[in-house]
């Protein structure tokens, strides 16, 4: 039973537990895009990285693939970790600007602008669909093909696979499929950034109930702030409102 320290809290976990699982056991939220409890860790998104010191040097490591060891000292939200995560999630937003989950994550981490050109890809290659198909659905109908820039999720020979039962699990786990809500200034603001901006619908339909699915920000943020407006600085920069 290895004993490790996470953010100063000592925790004893069973052998074979990963640091991510140990942290979640303590209730410390670590953001991930490629992790799922039922699947073998993959370590693709790197968002779960934590600062680990084993006596001598402090390194950033992906916690989903890091087995808990005796005497490990882990910091899950140090300044260095946060900085690295913000950079990563900023790049993810640039790769897939349409994904709600990524945008929510970015806003929650305090990303205020995206400095990279939007790529509008449809896949971040987290491997969730491939692993779900293989490990949970026992089908193995989809897989990666190619390498480097040409790597993509595909079916063999791009033909309908007889192994595919069309269960839809790949769509269900995909972090990119769900589009961001098309609120005001969907192009220039991050989803969840409505915490800081005024919405149009709220003013025009005074007391009517909103049937749109509330985004994360609406749920935690409550009433919208009418005093803050978004002013995009330039075309290249995606920027959301500042106080």
């Amino acid at each position: 039973m290895p004993t490790l320290t996470i953010n100063g809290i000592e925790v004893q976990v069973e052998k074979g537990t990963t640091v991510l699982e140990a942290a979640r056991f303590l209730g410390i939220p670590i953001p991930t895009l490629c992790h799922d409890d039922g699947l073998v860790p993959y370590g693709a998104c790197r968002l779960c990285l934590v600062e680990v010191s084993n006596g001598r040097k402090q390194t950033l490591q992906a916690s989903c693939c890091l087995p808990a060891e005796d005497g490990l000292k882990v910091l899950t939200h140090s300044a260095r970790v946060e900085r690295a995560r913000r950079l990563l999630v900023e790049m993810y937003v640039a790769v897939c600007p349409s994904s709600k989950r990524i945008q929510d994550m970015a806003s929650a981490m305090g990303v205020r602008q995206v400095r990279y050109q939007a790529k509008h890809e449809t896949c971040i290659q987290c491997g969730l669909c491939v692993r779900t198909c293989e490990q949970q659905m026992m089908a193995g109908a989809i897989g990666f093909s190619g390498r480097g820039l040409n790597r993509s999720v595909s079916r063999p020979f791009d033909m309908t696979s007889e192994l595919c039962r069309q269960c839809g699990a790949c769509l269900y786990v995909c972090p990119v499929c769900e589009s961001r809500c098309q609120g005001p200034q969907a192009e220039s603001t991050l989803c969840n950034g409505c915490l800081n901006i005024s919405t149009v619908c709220f003013q025009s339909y005074d007391n009517a109930m909103c049937f749109l699915e509330p985004c994360h920000a609406c749920e935690i943020g409550g009433p919208f702030r009418a005093d803050v407006q978004v002013k995009p600085r330039s075309k290249d920069f995606t920027r959301i409102g500042e106080k």
Partner: protein
């Protein structure tokens, strides 16, 4: 796509145990036999080794030594590494493509040659360099030498038949 001779596969698969670690050696043998990886053969390998077809496909598309479309009898790899590049490899490549009447790196319609570009093959002192069939390295290439190089392999390839006169003369010109 030509008809696949499936009978060649079975004796080939017999040489290996049915384990997933043998996937790449088998694919290499198939690539050597057919000069590409036919779809039917990949499906057969997947069944025999009990490896999902997606995984076989993943490996087959990952490595550059495997090809899913037929390759030529001779694979000419033109090095475009830094040293070769500065010593004129792009011009050598252009000349080669022009002689073989190819628009870009690829295979000639008669399946004699496949032209590929590679990064560095590790003999920068011989730049610019091309390697044929993963074995014969041709050093210090110039545009003038390209014709002779191709002709050498063309003749070997077409030994029983007469070499195509128009292509040979075109190479010399």
């Amino acid at each position: 796509m030509p008809q696949v001779e499936m009978e060649k596969v079975e004796p080939l698969l017999e040489q290996f145990e049915d384990q997933r670690i043998n996937l790449i050696p088998i694919l290499q043998e198939v690539q050597d036999t057919y000069r590409y990886l036919p779809q039917e053969v990949l499906k057969r390998i997947s069944r025999k080794l009990r490896v999902p077809l997606t995984e076989v496909y993943q490996v087959a598309t990952f490595y550059r030594c495997f090809s899913l479309v037929p390759r030529g009898k001779h694979v000419v790899q033109v090095c475009l590494g830094t040293a070769c590049h500065v010593r004129g490899a792009p011009r050598v490549l252009d000349r080669m493509l022009r002689d073989l009447k190819l628009a870009g790196p690829g295979t000639t319609p008669d399946l004699q040659f496949t032209v590929e570009t590679v990064r560095c093959i590790g003999c920068c002192g011989l730049a610019p360099v091309a390697r044929v069939d993963n074995a014969n390295t041709h050093p210090h290439l110039t545009q003038a030498k390209v014709g002779g190089l191709l002709k050498k392999y063309q003749e070997k390839a077409e030994a029983p038949k007469a070499a195509k006169p128009d292509e040979a003369s075109h190479a010399k010109a």
